[in-house]
């Protein structure tokens, strides 16, 4: 079978270029000539006053020989009266000098429109801003709660994934603010992220003993409809409680007299009194700071900076003092929120609220927590929210995210021991009071 080869034939024309393009294109399509004439190339920026070059790409068996069908059906048009002479046609390189590198190309082969994929945005999942207002619960919160549960089933089935997949699935389920959702899921013991935030992995299914004289537990980690059904049939599900505003998966409370039996009969780990244990082994704030992820290689002069003054971020020069900073590029696009230690000239990355808490600590701000012994409720000012891992210890005491009351976050079912221990470690002024009565 003879080999098809591509070559170019050129013409000069003086006249309306758009008319030329339209009529040639029309004729090629109408006469079904695209197999022989895949492309038309025309000089750019032509006016009607001067002659210009245009070239037809020819896919044919003989270079220099125009297929008969073209001679009959196309070349009789008036545009082709002034051919550029060449013994064996032109190559692409040869025509480039005549039509220029940036010429107009008309493709008759029904090409697929080029569309680049949306690049994965490099947004840091730890970059939060302070929650400005708490939306009152509306009728949709039941739907939001159902979607939150479904999201956890999806996470549990995948097991692990990228931050990008996490965001896309939030979007598919109409769950807003994926960064906050990620944080809430960590607080509730349902998943973990990698230290740079680029990956997440679902935590294993676990029962966690909550603060109670009875054998009350909560279910954390991976879950599925099937597992919940089995636990119900086993007779241990005590209650299923929606989180406030449906903004996280429901809290499954269990009554478990024999945790070992659960661990033997189901793929569930007995995590014990995680809240108390965590409170006992968490370090003090200074040690916690030292263990934060170190971010090397920052050249401050290459970035724009804002400094946290205890209330808000203010534009500043190159950082010199210990504190929390926002690092932006020259276009003021936020890249990272970091904590700077001037003593060691080290930059740290961590959860946003944790870095803010560190900033307050270093500023000497008086952080406080109020505990109601009767209700076992701990209140913390919203603007003094604790670092995430410490907050997790509070949340795991009940399996419920904190609620808002005025300017305070209220954590339920926290034991006095846990509240006191954590407050000490964080250098928080701890008072017993009537708040959240």
């Amino acid at each position: 079978m003879p080999q098809v080869q591509r070559w170019y034939t050129g013409f000069s024309y003086r006249g309306n270029p758009q008319d030329l393009i339209n009529k040639i294109s029309d004729q090629v399509q109408r006469q079904n000539l695209s197999k022989s004439v895949p492309l038309l190339r025309v000089e750019k920026g032509i006016t009607s006053r001067r002659p210009f070059y245009f070239f037809l790409a020819i896919d044919g068996c003989e270079v220099g020989e125009l297929p008969t069908e073209l001679q009959t059906n196309l070349l009789k048009l008036s545009f082709f009266q002034c051919p550029i002479k060449a013994s064996r046609g032109f190559s692409y390189e040869q025509i480039k000098s005549m039509v220029g590198v940036a010429h107009d190309v008309y493709d008759y082969t029904s090409p697929i429109p080029y569309q680049a994929r949306q690049n994965i945005t490099a947004d840091n999942p730890f970059e939060l801003t302070e929650l400005q207002s708490i939306n009152p619960p509306d009728a949709d919160w039941v739907k939001a709660s159902q979607n939150s549960d479904r999201f956890l089933y999806w996470l549990s089935t995948l097991g692990n994934g990228s931050w990008e997949s996490f965001k896309k699935s939030c979007n598919a389920l109409q769950l807003e603010e994926p960064k906050r959702i990620l944080r809430r899921l960590r607080l509730l013991g349902h998943l973990e992220s990698s230290l740079d935030g680029s990956r997440w992995s679902a935590a294993p299914s676990a029962i966690v003993k909550i603060n109670s004289p009875n054998s009350e537990f909560i279910l954390c980690g991976q879950r599925s409809i099937s597992l919940l059904r089995q636990l119900e049939e086993y007779g241990i599900v005590a209650s299923i409680t929606h989180q406030a505003r449906g903004e996280a998966p429901t809290c499954i409370q269990l009554v478990v007299n024999n945790p070992d039996a659960i661990a033997n009969n189901f793929p569930i780990i007995n995590a014990g009194e995680a809240s108390k244990r965590l409170a006992q082994i968490l370090p003090d704030i200074a040690t916690w700071q030292q263990n934060l992820r170190n971010v090397p290689g920052i050249v401050p002069s290459r970035w724009e900076w804002k400094h946290f003054d205890g209330d808000d971020f203010q534009i500043c020069g190159i950082p010199h003092e210990t504190g929390m900073y926002q690092m932006s590029d020259e276009n003021r696009n936020l890249c990272y929120t970091l904590f700077y230690n001037q003593n060691t000239n080290t930059w740290y990355q961590g959860d946003w609220y944790g870095l803010r808490f560190l900033a307050l600590y270093h500023h000497g701000a008086s952080c406080q927590a109020d505990y109601n012994f009767a209700t076992k409720c701990l209140a913390i000012p919203v603007k003094q929210r604790w670092p995430e891992i410490y907050e997790r210890a509070l949340v795991l005491a009940s399996g419920q995210l904190p609620t808002y009351q005025g300017n305070s976050l209220l954590y339920q079912n926290v034991s006095e021991e846990v509240a006191h221990l954590l407050s000490q470690k964080l250098n928080v002024k701890y008072e017993e009071g009537l708040i959240c009565a």
């Binding site: 493709d107 990228s162 935590a203």
Partner: protein, 562 residues
């Protein structure tokens, strides 16, 4: 002697083992395949003629009192496998024997089939009076089973009275005995022994197309959906020939598995720092189930574990510039009948987004990019002039300037490449392998995107169905969606190509999506599940949060550091 059930299971296992989901499966059974499969029958004597063994098992199963009775082969066995596959393979043997020796016709085919079944005569054997009630239900069961297991079927009815049912077995054969003999002859003449991967080997064979007979020539030059299957089949012949010690053609008298595993490349990128890494991505051998494979990389042994059908998990071993340039061989320490894991030396790699999970950010050499899929082209700088020529001729586009990788390696990446035109035939570049790799072999392709996907099971959640785009070089195509459970057509309409449409798959189930135009068709399977279907993935220790120097936590579980 292996019995019919043994053969049935072994044949099914052979054709899907090590095969990626979405692959179109051809039951291209011949003597070589039967020899390979016989290795599964460990306890049987080695001097058996295995083709005869299969035929005897089939005869014993289906022949009663001089008639063929296929009733017992309908439906599935206790393991859920279609019962008729071994019989279908016998019909394929008949078809391939016919094709090699004589003209393709119903008469000749049934003559061959009767020989296999030891039933003298020429026409349809007694008991198989009508194709639609005899063998066709077995084909349909096999096709349905494949689709339920996320493979695409290839067997279909023929057009025209005489070819209606014999097209089923005829469509399954790829390489004939004569084709393989000729290939081995070329391998011997050219003294080829290099460790080429399938794509590179294809280019070398393609150059010799003038030396082949009509059938093989057609296979090498056609642009159809079975191109990938043919490339794979050619590579199997080559690898087998090398494993046999590169014998001359007439000395090919035993079959053995290739002694090597090949690998591709797996690319990851830190989304924040932009660091790009390439890992070794081992491929499974088609047709073979290996219980345990261990590879020595540097000082460390690595166990290969299946990540997905056709592939092992990428190894925690980053490819360096030298290995990319020259290829590499890594010693396989177990099992004994494998020698090396081979990273082939290539001039370029085509890396596509994960077909199971496009949001993962990973790119790898899973398969050729389908129409409309942007990919990364990793290549030697010296190929840039060829690639720019393709862009100049409006065949290929990409999004930004080539990015160098591995300082001073001479390799670059081109991002967001996409093939946009079908008119490649007249354009010639220096690197033929690159052209064969990029030139589209089809004119239509179906893409699924968006929705809420469950990558592990290749499914979408009900109420969160994917968007469907028919990519192609036609302005429109006929779209048909069929529910597999009851073969109901859910949708049949004409659609514009290259534009997304949303279909509401209201009910869970398996669906076949077909796009057709001008005699060409493309197929894609989609599974829709509801929330009850989701099962918890077995926990594998991944991300943890450090608490202090002694403990870490994952979720609610506190653990001491190791």
């Amino acid at each position: 002697m292996a019995n019919y059930t043994d053969w049935n299971e072994a044949l099914i296992s052979y054709f899907i083992s090590g095969t990626p989901h979405g692959t179109k499966i051809y039951l291209s059974v011949d003597e070589d395949v039967i020899e390979h499969i016989s290795y599964n029958f460990e306890k049987l004597p080695t001097n058996v003629n295995w083709v005869d063994d299969l035929c005897t098992a089939v005869k014993r199963k289906v022949i009663f009192e001089g008639e063929v009775n296929l009733q017992d082969l309908k439906g599935r066995d206790s393991q859920g496998l279609p019962k008729g596959v071994a019989f279908l393979c016998a019909t394929i043997l008949a078809a391939s024997q016919m094709a090699q020796e004589e003209k393709i016709s119903e008469t000749n085919y049934f003559k061959r089939l009767r020989e296999i079944l030891a039933l003298p005569g020429f026409s349809r054997p007694p008991g198989m009076n009508f194709g639609y009630e005899a063998e066709e239900p077995l084909w349909q069961e096999w096709n349905l089973w494949l689709m339920e297991h996320r493979f695409l079927p290839s067997a279909q009815r023929g057009r025209g009275r005489a070819a209606t049912y014999i097209n089923y077995p005829i469509s399954q054969s790829l390489l004939r005995r004569t084709d393989k003999d000729k290939l081995r002859q070329i391998f011997q003449e050219k003294q080829w022994q290099t460790e080429w991967d399938a794509q590179t080997l294809f280019t070398h064979i393609r150059r010799e197309v003038g030396k082949f007979g009509i059938h093989l020539k057609e296979l090498l030059t056609e642009n159809k959906q079975r191109h990938e299957a043919i490339v794979e089949a050619l590579h199997q012949v080559y690898e087998q020939w090398k494993a046999q010690g590169c014998p001359t053609a007439h000395k090919n008298n035993y079959c053995t598995w290739s002694r090597h595993l090949f690998c591709g490349l797996y690319r990851t990128e830190d989304p924040f720092l932009g660091q790009v890494d390439y890992s070794i991505y081992p491929k499974q051998q088609r047709g073979r189930t290996l219980k345990s494979v261990e590879v020595q990389l540097g000082d460390n042994p690595h166990q290969l574990t299946q990540e997905r059908p056709g592939w092992y998990f990428p190894l925690e071993y980053l490819v360096n510039g030298k290995e990319l340039e020259n290829g590499a061989k890594y010693q396989i320490t177990s099992p004994d009948d494998l020698d090396y894991l081979i990273l082939p030396a290539r001039d370029f790699w085509i890396l596509i987004p994960d077909p199971e999970n496009g949001d993962s950010g990973a790119y790898a050499s899973w398969e050729a990019p389908s129409l409309g899929t942007p990919f990364i082209l990793l290549c030697k700088q010296e190929l840039l002039s060829d690639i720019e020529r393709l862009r100049d001729e409006n065949l290929l586009k990409w999004s930004s300037t080539p990015q160098p990788i591995f300082n001073n390696s001479g390799w670059v990446e081109l991002q967001q490449c996409m093939v946009i035109s079908q008119a490649w035939d007249g354009v010639f570049i220096k690197n033929q392998t690159l052209k064969y790799a990029l030139q589209p072999t089809v004119k239509l392709s179906i893409s699924l995107s968006g929705g809420l996907r469950v990558p592990k099971i290749g499914a979408w959640l009900v109420e969160h169905s994917p968007q469907i785009t028919i990519f192609g070089f036609y302005s429109n195509a006929e779209l048909k969606v069929t529910r597999l459970s009851d073969n109901q057509t859910v949708l049949e309409s004409s659609q514009s190509t290259n534009t997304s449409i949303t279909l509401d798959f209201a009910h869970p189930g398996d669906y076949l999506i077909e796009a057709t135009f001008a005699g060409e068709s493309s197929q894609r399977l989609v599974k829709i599940v509801d929330w009850n279907y989701l099962e918890i993935e077995k926990y594998v220790h991944k991300e943890v949060m450090p608490i202090n120097d002694k403990y870490h936590i994952f979720g609610s579980v506190i653990q001491a550091n190791f």
